[in-house]
Symmetry: C3
Subunit: 406 residues, 3 copies
């Protein structure tokens, strides 16, 4: 909660902005949670509970039992931002009345969730209470993109498999099935990727996205490149983003499977020794492509600020994963607001798997944004309150609309 009155006033106004969430992992066929397990099964809880000492085997249980097991370990992590998200979900969306959630609350909380989530319009309720109008998805390249409202759930072509796993027969088979093209060389790969972009844009896709390891350094491929070299495939994707006018979301800095015995999705970490200079050739080669860049490490935020200050096609985007806690959001946001043109800032995305997380995550961001605007802009006499809210509208809605053409 905010205790600064000016920030509270700004927050109240910011809450009225119907926002667009430019990156999530929502399944549009099942966007909201069906039970509490779909909330607490989020890796942020399983990995923190495991890190705090919970045996991974306690996750191999029935959904209700698993929820009880995880809640039973929350006391050890009730200091974390992630716990506060869950508490806000429970209190604001599920009518939970307590101030904290203990093991004893597990059965009642399960029932509360069952009652609320069974409501026919639960999905709409959640979006409405969260002030979220549209949500971008993360779609596998072979997703048929059918059976959902693409004006609410905006498709986005996720390309990690194509770039990093094309050497695997099963990925090439999926690609053959999706495109009708057996990929064997650079030419057939280009044709297949063109097919994918045609399919995705026809279905309303508004972005191409990829997550990248800290040592990735894309280079313009030599003409005779053979095989499925990640850098060459990546370059091909950038060419298609240019041709199909799709912004390219780069999520930079994750090392996969660092903690081998970690819980599902709780194994990835990073190496802070990375630089956006690795992308200088790319940014130069594709001036027409909008690169919406997320960095995993807050250390890299100054590079992101500086590259966005210089390159017209670099857009700072959200506060990703290990940087998605108030201490880092606040310092990263302050620098962005002081040095990057306001029309280039994509404020925040939820990265959520279930809609319920939109509310606490965006509220966390909206509070920090309100506080930063209060301190650095309104009290500093740079903006009045009305202008400060206009900035928030750019970061939460208008810039997303303009940059992604939604």
């Amino acid at each position: 909660m905010l205790h600064d009155r000016l920030a509270q006033e700004l927050y109240a106004e910011i809450l009225k902005i119907p926002l667009i969430d430019p990156h999530s992992h929502i399944n549009p066929h099942s966007p909201a949670a069906k039970n509490l397990d779909e909330i607490l099964g989020y890796h942020y809880y399983t990995e923190l509970a495991h890190s705090a000492g919970m045996d991974r085997k306690l996750l191999e249980a029935s959904p209700k039992e698993r929820v009880k097991n995880i809640i039973g370990h929350l006391a050890d992590l009730d200091n974390t931002a992630q716990y506060s998200w869950f508490l806000e979900i429970a209190r604001t969306l599920l009518d939970f009345q307590g101030d904290k959630i203990t093991a004893a609350d597990a059965p009642a909380l399960w029932d509360l969730a069952q009652k609320h989530m069974a409501q026919r319009d639960w999905e709409d309720q959640v979006l409405h209470k969260s002030h979220i109008e549209k949500v971008f998805l993360t779609n596998d390249f072979d997703d048929p993109l059918e059976g959902f409202d693409t004006s609410r759930y905006v498709p986005c072509l996720r390309t990690d498999d194509l770039v990093f796993h094309l050497d695997k027969p099963e990925v090439r088979q999926r690609l053959a099935k999706a495109t009708g093209i057996e990929v064997g060389d650079a030419k057939t790969l280009r044709s297949a990727i063109t097919k994918l972009f045609e399919h995705f844009t026809r279905k309303g896709a508004k972005a191409c996205a990829i997550s990248l390891p800290p040592d990735f350094s894309p280079r313009s491929p030599a003409p005779q490149t053979v095989g499925f070299e990640p850098s060459a495939t990546f370059w091909l994707l950038a060419e298609h983003c240019r041709e199909f006018k799709l912004p390219f979301d780069l999520m930079i800095g994750v090392n996969r499977k660092v903690y081998k015995e970690g819980v599902y999705q709780g194994q990835d970490l990073f190496d802070q020794r990375t630089s956006l200079i690795q992308y200088a050739e790319l940014f130069n080669a594709f001036p027409e492509v909008k690169f919406c860049v997320s960095v995993l490490s807050s250390n890299q935020n100054q590079e992101l600020v500086s590259y966005a200050w210089i390159f017209p096609n670099v857009y700072p985007c959200g506060h990703w994963w290990y940087s998605n806690i108030p201490a880092y959001i606040q310092s990263d946001l302050r620098a962005r607001l002081q040095a990057v043109p306001k029309t280039k800032l994509i404020g925040y995305y939820s990265d959520m798997y279930k809609l319920e997380f939109g509310l606490p995550k965006f509220n966390m961001y909206r509070r920090i944004l309100a506080q930063v605007l209060a301190e650095d802009f309104v009290r500093a006499r740079i903006y009045n309150e009305h202008q400060a809210v206009d900035i928030a509208r750019l970061l939460l809605r208008d810039n997303v609309q303009r940059i992604f053409a939604v």
Copy 2:
């Protein structure tokens, strides 16, 4: 503007200190701007406007037209610290009355600037209003250093060309012309550099300066070094700094021409993967030389603090370029004030090309300094207000005087 009353009081006192600006790009033959184009032509504006979407071609216009074009794009970046500098110049130096500057203000603002800048004593007015007493210059090695008052505009030998471009015939020709020595080997190079140092010190130069890429790592050259190897030439400069008792300004961390299609002076960026350990051999080899070190990345500030805490000959200097925004100045300054002897801190420099920028840049710094002193020192009962202002005097004036012997 400051809203903290104690900080305001300190700021008012700090403003009275006649400061010395230890690094600028002022042309002493034309120190103040002659029209508004010389203000808005500063790369901070052209690059931000371009980054926000302005076509570079709009800069290829008459000065008055160019000013209109840039002002027409300021609305997209009115959140930035750089915009606030311009607004403060307009309001404080040019008597502009508005709260913000829009495209419609361009003609009137042009005229205001013409009126003020045409005044005979404009240069003196600007320095007086900025509380600036002396300004260090950045002089090419072949600058005759004549025709200006070197007690107001202090010469400084800039050596980037010598270290990094001596392999170019035109640089060697300039050197031959300046020194009368055709440089062909280590011995003639040493003689030529000695000539330069003799010329510069005779003319009142008080520093040698250079900007360095992030991967530069100077090493004591092997005796038989031939050719014009940057590290060897750099070492030769350090030897001359020792001999001629000139502090050596090291500006560490810039990669040149990263954004190839960028505007003039708006192409340089950095790689955060750099370390002051690269300079350990240098700092050890030249205990008599004062190294005044600027770092481009705020990430490197802790190294700078720690190296200055340990090495007697390392002096933290200013807040350079991409670190020259309030968020980074504040955090960098706090750490320096908590861990480096106060007599070693060179607070701030303007890096300006025209005198008008001294006022908003130093005011930005003076406000942050006042706020940090208020919070970390006066309220923490470490210093009283009088002592806090004494610290500011060290950072803004006395340390510069003592370290550079001006």
Copy 3:
């Protein structure tokens, strides 16, 4: 001093927690200072005074003269956190009445120290006033660990010599003397190390510790490894930590002897280009070993937070050396409290050589902790004041007790 009333109230409560200091360099046979020279001889003062311009030769004097020489240079560094520690020692422990310490105070301060330190129960007084119950030591591998109360002074096996200097005959001789085993190969090395662990655990040791250079990257050794390769010896220590159930303190990031002409213990610095990814194989290989990790650079704090959030066996520990100033403690602590389970945080350690430093160092930390808890938790309505103090108790006492089994 704190000026925030809520933080003051929390601080007052936090002060009542009898804490355990999990890392120091106390000599248990002479834990408290015997004169003022044993306070001001601490490298934090000698190196800062030298950095501020004091000739090293002024340290080659009688203790009383040396104290006078150092105090004579304190005026140049009275802005530093380190100076404030000394002032707090003088005022709180030695009944010094002044607000600052000048050269003129040296004789009187010397006498005050003599008077107080001569008291029979001085050691107990200091511990009592500091609210310190137990203090971990740093013991050489050949320390007999005899003649002191190991329930107050907890032994800890320091292993830098074994890992990095086993190629030196004198180290192998010390090892032979301590264990009765002439080490010549992997097998005898294992036997000797087992002997050391048996000796240390029998004597009540509760941790194994080591400091590591930034480029250290331990790897599981190949079976046929010969010689005394640091990585292989380090791995052997981890195996013994597992077998003997000792937490392994890793102090990551120090380069030794960077400033060759520095004062005693004032020569070490660091290279910020380091990553915890270098320890991924180790953390994976030893899930049963608790790794209590300190990082030298605040830049690396986000990695530490993230690795502790994911790996159950990684525990963030204290604020080490160049990160042990308020600006870095505050930002590092905020992130840890927002993202790491509270039961895994080892708040602070003194790193002290003499007991007198426990008071000002822990008070500095206690104040910052109180302020962070006030702002981020109590005012944000996450915890009430009582719960906030409970968190402090975990960080200062309970977690140390549980993790190290003391």
